[in-house]
């Protein structure tokens, strides 16, 4: 088995294979960790996998004392993160200039944050639970489905069978902005075959804050509880079974300072925001390694029940999602193990029932599909070619081809290219919840009924090329990488906010594309002092009512620098500076609502985050950090704040930070 581990392809295969073969994943994870520790780097980019994959390890996650998945990307240049609006406190991510919903987020290779929770779901995975994340751009493997347009983010939770895993990990966090958070991860190895994790998380935003004095809370008061339990069983005859359950309970209440739950939403009363979510998930993976070498069969199962009700002033948004997913994967080789073949079948069932501003929208999507993927691992060349065919109960049959190439002309130089198709159904309300924090009319422009909100699926082609060059300079390691991706939409559900009074949704008519260019430089300046510099450029344009325009609220330029230093007696310092360029702000209502202000460009700004931590004997770690230390804030994130029931009210045009300096402190305590 070890021999295969060394083969170039395995890292990629393992990436997918993890899902089916836990035993295998165990070995591979160790391999990953070896790589991380050798280089003492927090984020590593593998040279051997066919897909360019950034492995974000525990060290990287600790850089920002990150509280959940969405905040954990603060130190990753590949991911942009911004507030959805000035009321709900939620942030959304962006990859390749495209909204988070275009990135597929998986938990151990099972689709996780999708559907109604494309934005809010990122807060459902506390950072303390995460062992590592793998981030790759472009369309991924067909084995994981057809939906991902911009990239994949796979999240690996802490493993109970891992010898290094502490028995109990406790984490406490307190911020100066009145947020308290606690996490616990309990691990029990019952015997060499059976092990379990119990994950608990509780958080509360209990302090009302209005730093910009507009009468609106900068973020809602919230209560959030998340619990999960999972089991691993390594059975005889190479059977491996794992399964888990997770429950999420979220309660948010915000809006104007004096709003209280149940306040009637009519002019004169405080404008309110409420969001309650309950989510239950269950999943299982059953795998067996077959007698033929490098051959296995695996089944992934997952079920989700999600329910939410929200109040945005006089508009209510209630939604329900029931999803079921099954994926059967058979893996073997042809001729010799340099030629791997994966084939299988999957079923995805999504049932949505939504009601927005008293209008009801319901649909059931059933998508059975088959797929095959061939991987070749040569000396300098690697190739993964995949094809899947799915039948969508609403939109009919479609095929999804994808191709990934890797070429290593020299030992430290890797060139990769990828091209692929993706298709997804837009959940127009959930993915654009930010616009609910306004009095914009939601208008769906379609002549059709049925379908998904009467709209077509989104279809995109994504292609990319990237170069990774590793080097050693003065006996210390470094790397340089540059990548370019182009996404072309055949159809997109255009979100048109060019008119200040509405947000309109319609099928694309004309061009829509996204160009993304990123360069990144990593080097160990001095022993244990790591520097990362990155710059990225986006050109994202869509045809809005016949006119090709830059997508609003997307920064074309962004520069990033991170310094991380670790001393021998376990002090750690991290500083991240980011410069975010201007964004296009569409035209808005003038003060009294009779005039329209022309579209403008937001100012550029600098964000500074820093953190200091100290650990003792691998048991106790204390940290102290600051976010937005330059105290840069948008002065008027809520337009028309004096009259939230009038037509000028709009909290959705957020281009910058809503909150000022945040100082936090916390501890991690491990019982071994």
């Amino acid at each position: 088995m070890n021999k295969y581990m060394l083969l170039p392809a395995t890292a990629v295969l393992a990436f997918v294979y993890t899902s089916t073969c836990a035993q295998d994943s165990l070995k591979n994870h160790k391999l990953d960790e070896v790589i991380i520790r050798q280089k003492q780097k927090a984020t590593t980019i593998s040279s051997i996998s066919t897909l360019k994959t950034e492995n974000i390890g525990t060290r990287e996650l600790l850089k920002a004392a990150c509280c959940n998945l969405s905040e954990s990307f603060e130190t990753t240049p590949s991911v942009d993160i911004a507030f959805t609006d000035a009321v709900t406190g939620y942030k959304q991510i962006q990859m390749l200039g495209l909204a988070g919903a275009y990135t597929s987020i998986t938990r151990e290779n099972i689709p996780d944050t999708r559907g109604l929770v494309a934005i809010t779901g990122l807060t459902f995975t506390p950072g303390t639970w995460i062992e590592s994340m793998q981030l790759s751009k472009g369309t991924g493997s067909v084995v994981n489905g057809y939906e991902s347009v911009a990239g994949q983010i796979n999240v690996e939770w802490k493993k109970p069978f891992d010898d290094k895993q502490e028995k109990l990990l406790l984490n406490l966090y307190q911020s100066s902005q009145g947020r308290t958070e606690g996490n616990a991860v309990y691990t029990k190895k019952l015997n060499s075959k059976l092990s379990t994790n119990l994950f608990l998380h509780g958080r509360s935003q209990w302090l009302k804050l209005d730093e910009n004095n507009d009468g609106f809370l900068d973020q809602p008061l919230d209560k959030q509880f998340i619990g999960a339990n999972r089991w691993f069983w390594f059975g005889p005859k190479n059977w491996e079974v794992q399964g888990g359950v997770k429950a999420v309970y979220v309660n948010n209440i915000g809006g104007q300072w004096n709003y209280e739950k149940g306040t009637e939403q009519i002019a004169g009363n405080p404008w309110g925001f409420q969001l309650n979510m309950q989510r239950y998930e269950g999943w299982a993976k059953i795998g067996k390694i077959l007698p033929r070498k490098a051959t296995s069969v695996g089944l992934q199962l997952s079920a989700v029940h999600h329910q939410q009700d929200a109040v945005y002033g006089s508009r209510n948004y209630d939604a329900l999602q029931n999803s079921f997913y099954a994926n059967l994967i058979y893996q073997t080789y042809v001729g010799n193990t340099n030629h791997t073949l994966k084939a299988g079948a999957s079923t995805l069932i999504d049932h949505y029932n939504e009601s927005f501003a008293a209008q009801k929208y319901a649909r059931i999507e059933t998508v059975p599909g088959v797929f095959a993927e061939y991987a070749y691992n040569g000396k300098n060349w690697n190739l993964i070619g995949g094809l899947r065919a799915d039948y969508h109960s609403i939109f009919g049959a479609f095929v999804t081809p994808r191709l990934h190439l890797r070429y290593a002309p020299f030992p430290r130089t890797v060139i990769r290219a990828s091209v692929g198709r993706a298709q997804r159904t837009a959940n127009i309300f959930a993915e654009n919840m930010g616009y609910m924090a306004s009095n914009r009319a939601f208008i769906i422009q379609t002549t059709e009924t049925g379908k998904a909100y009467g709209l077509n699926p989104e279809v995109a082609w994504n292609m990319g090329i990237n170069l990774t060059q590793k080097f050693q300079l003065d006996y210390r390691d470094g790397s340089f990488g540059v990548d370019y991706y182009y996404t072309h939409f055949n159809n997109q559900i255009v979100v048109d906010v060019e008119d200040p009074g509405s947000v309109r949704f319609y099928n694309l008519s004309g061009l829509s594309f996204a160009n993304s260019l990123q360069g990144q430089f990593d080097y160990e300046l001095l022993h244990n002092l790591d520097l990362r510099l990155a710059y990225r450029w986006y050109d994202v344009r869509t045809t809005y009512s016949g006119e090709l325009k830059e997508k609003p609220l997307v920064a074309a330029h962004r520069a990033f620098a991170n310094l991380a230093y670790e001393t021998r007696n376990k002090w750690r310092f991290d500083v991240t500076v980011q410069w975010v360029g201007t964004k296009r702000v569409p035209s808005m209502w003038g003060k009294n609502g009779t005039t329209i202000m022309p579209e403008s460009n937001s100012p550029d700004f600098v964000m500074l985050n820093a953190q200091l931590s100290k650990s003792w004997k691998e048991n106790l770690e204390l940290y102290l950090g600051g976010e937005n230390l330059t105290n840069y804030m948008m002065h008027h994130p809520v337009m028309g704040a004096q009259n939230p029931y009038g037509k000028t009210f709009d909290a959705s045009m957020t281009w910058g930070p809503i909150m000022g300096v945040n100082v936090y402190a916390g501890m991690r305590w491990k019982l071994r």
Binding site: K30, V34, D163, D474, A559
Partner: protein, 113 residues
């Protein structure tokens, strides 16, 4: 941005060129078990004058690149022994060995990671 990168590169290259003259590379055996030991051994080997230290988990060989005018194998091995790991040059004191976590007790244990 571009100028910053060029500046860093040139600064590094020039300092590297100056230091070339007395650079030495040596390998010696250091007792240890696993990946956890690896990190400790390498950190301990970074005494003043050491440019790079890599311990191979499979062969137990520690490769050090250092300035011979500033340090030598013996000094490096003493620092490694202080962290609990014996080598061809220096044997770790019983007290320092006992401070190691269980899985790194190379005299009695072997470990899988």
């Amino acid at each position: 941005m571009k100028s910053i990168i060029i500046f860093i590169f040139s600064a590094l290259l020039s300092s590297a060129a100056l230091a070339q003259s007395d650079i030495k590379t040596d390998s010696f055996k250091v007792d240890g078990n696993c990946n956890m030991c690896k990190k400790r051994i390498e950190e301990a080997a970074y005494v003043k004058g050491v440019k790079r230290a890599e311990w191979n988990e499979a062969t137990h060989m520690l490769t050090v690149i250092y300035r011979s005018s500033k340090t030598d194998e013996k000094t490096i091995s003493q620092s490694v022994a202080k962290a609990g790991h014996s080598s061809d040059f220096t044997t770790a004191a019983e007290k320092d060995y006992n401070n190691l976590p269980d899985c790194c007790h190379y005299k009695t244990n072997t470990c899988s990671h």
